[in-house]
């Protein structure tokens, strides 16, 4: 299989400060005044899934739950709605995190699309049980855009960990 013949890079360990920074930026993106714009990607979910896949020992379900609670309050949603969705997202990401590295980026994006759609569907079911009406199929558009952004996102988020070879010419990696 040619998947396994791709050269695997050895990455630097991820810095905790960088993880916190990216998650904070994604939160800021989510809290921008979007005013029900259709198809705004849930960047916090994507960044969270990324770190759950790449750093499962540092970012997990607890972090996801806390982020979800912050977004619940920030968006004036039902308390616990995002928290539940993100917990499930983090769990699913942890479940696939060993396997997903073997796929090229666009197939990883398909994986992510499924995870995000599952999260959104769960949120939708919860809100409809709580008495909300169906917001229309465009509700799911954000997930597709988010999955399309996945290759760029994972390239950018891995940049700090790829810096080693630039610093020392003599080192083989």
């Amino acid at each position: 299989m040619d998947l396994q013949q791709q050269p695997q890079r050895i990455l630097l360990p991820a810095k905790g400060s960088f993880i916190v920074l990216t998650i904070a930026l994604a939160l800021l993106f989510n809290l921008l005044p979007w005013r029900n714009t259709v198809g705004v990607p849930d960047l916090t979910a994507a960044v969270l899934a990324f770190w759950c896949i790449h750093q499962p020992r540092k970012v997990g379900i607890g972090v996801a739950w806390t982020l979800g609670l912050l977004l619940d309050v920030g968006n004036n949603a039902l308390i616990g709605q995002h928290a539940l969705g993100y917990s499930v997202l983090a769990f699913l990401a942890l479940a696939v995190h060993r396997r997903i590295h073997w796929f090229p980026l666009w197939q990883q994006a398909l994986h992510l699309l499924l995870l995000l759609l599952a999260t959104q569907a769960l949120t939708l079911v919860i809100r409809m049980v709580a008495g909300a009406s169906f917001p229309g199929w465009t509700y799911f558009a954000g997930s597709f855009i988010c999955a399309a952004l996945w290759p760029a996102l994972s390239f950018m988020l891995l940049l700090p960990q790829r810096q080693a070879e630039m610093k020392d010419e003599n080192r083989p990696i």
Partner: protein, 302 residues
């Protein structure tokens, strides 16, 4: 011998256990929030933590507005100033008459010993942002309990009612718009005084006038104002106009859709009206005590 894994392999509880824990806490919070409204204290605390983030997220937009204001030309400002002056001049006679009418109305009410409606303090506020929640229609304004806001106060802009304050934080409040699914407002047709209740949640941000008989006297283009019978919204504020009426003989009620007069997409400035302060009803409370004496007096007279 038992083999213990080295501590760096120790990853704590299994993911499924963690998921079960966090999911159950989340479900607990949701039930408390949706059914019993017990999660308000949690919301207040988390809101305080999220407030700096929200302000930072708002900062580029505030900056943009500031810069746009700074560079708006003096000509535009002068033009706007002239237009506003003309508008004020046109409104002046009505304002003067309004003051006189209000005084007269108060006097008449006093004469009738009716409950006098005391003018409360209204608070000027700006819309900060609309929450990114596709399931509800809410906006957040920049005044909170520090400015004396309370849940339940009506919110208007310069053309009509927007909605109602539903949640108050320290520095912000959440306003539920009329088009939200859970929002209802009692109305009155301006033309003939017919009373009805409008509900939000119709498609396209429209309101739904429910439980009106199929032969009710409502026409396209009718203006509806608040009726004031709920004690929350002061009477006479414009709310909506009739956009579409479907009278179907198969149903007992007509389907009537309304277009809200006020638009939150257009302006940022809103006015939060005070709840009507009402003096406690003294006459009814004392009646049972007085009745026997009256009866005695009447007997004496007889």
């Amino acid at each position: 011998m038992e083999y213990q894994p080295p501590p760096f392999f120790n990853r704590g509880p299994a993911p499924l256990v963690r998921l079960a824990f966090f999911v159950s806490v989340a479900i607990l919070l949701m039930v408390l929030d949706a059914r019993f409204r017990y999660a308000e204290s949690v919301r207040q605390v988390v809101a305080l933590a999220a407030y700096p983030l929200q302000r930072i997220a708002m900062a580029p937009f505030d900056l943009f507005h500031g810069v746009a204001n700074y560079f708006s030309s003096t000509a535009a400002l002068q033009e706007e100033n002239a237009a506003l002056k003309a508008k004020q001049l046109r409104a002046a006679p009505e304002m003067l008459r309004l003051a006189a009418l209000q005084e007269e109305n108060n006097q008449l009410r006093r004469l009738l010993e009716a409950q006098e409606r005391l003018p409360g303090k209204s608070v000027f506020a700006e819309i900060l942002y609309a929450g990114r929640d596709p399931f509800s229609r809410k906006v957040v304004i920049d005044k909170g309990s520090q400015n004396g806001l309370q849940a339940g106060q009506p919110v208007i802009d310069d053309v009509g009612v927007i909605g109602q304050v539903t949640r108050v934080y320290l520095l912000m409040s959440e306003v539920t718009l009329l088009s939200d699914k859970d929002q209802a407002i009692p109305l009155q047709v301006l033309r003939n005084g017919l009373r009805a209740v409008a509900y939000g949640g119709a498609e396209g941000g429209m309101l739904d006038l429910r439980f009106m008989a199929a032969n009710a006297d409502i026409r396209n283009g009718d203006t509806l104002v608040t009726s004031g019978i709920d004690g929350t919204y002061p009477p006479g504020l414009p709310v909506a106009t009739v956009a579409r009426i479907e009278r179907d003989a198969a149903y007992a009620f007509a389907r009537i859709y309304l277009t809200p007069t006020a638009g939150t997409d257009r302006y940022r400035q809103v006015l939060v009206l005070a709840n009507e302060a009402r003096s406690p009803p003294p006459a009814e409370a004392e009646q049972p005590l007085k009745k026997p004496s009256r009866i005695k007096r009447s007997r004496k007279r007889e």
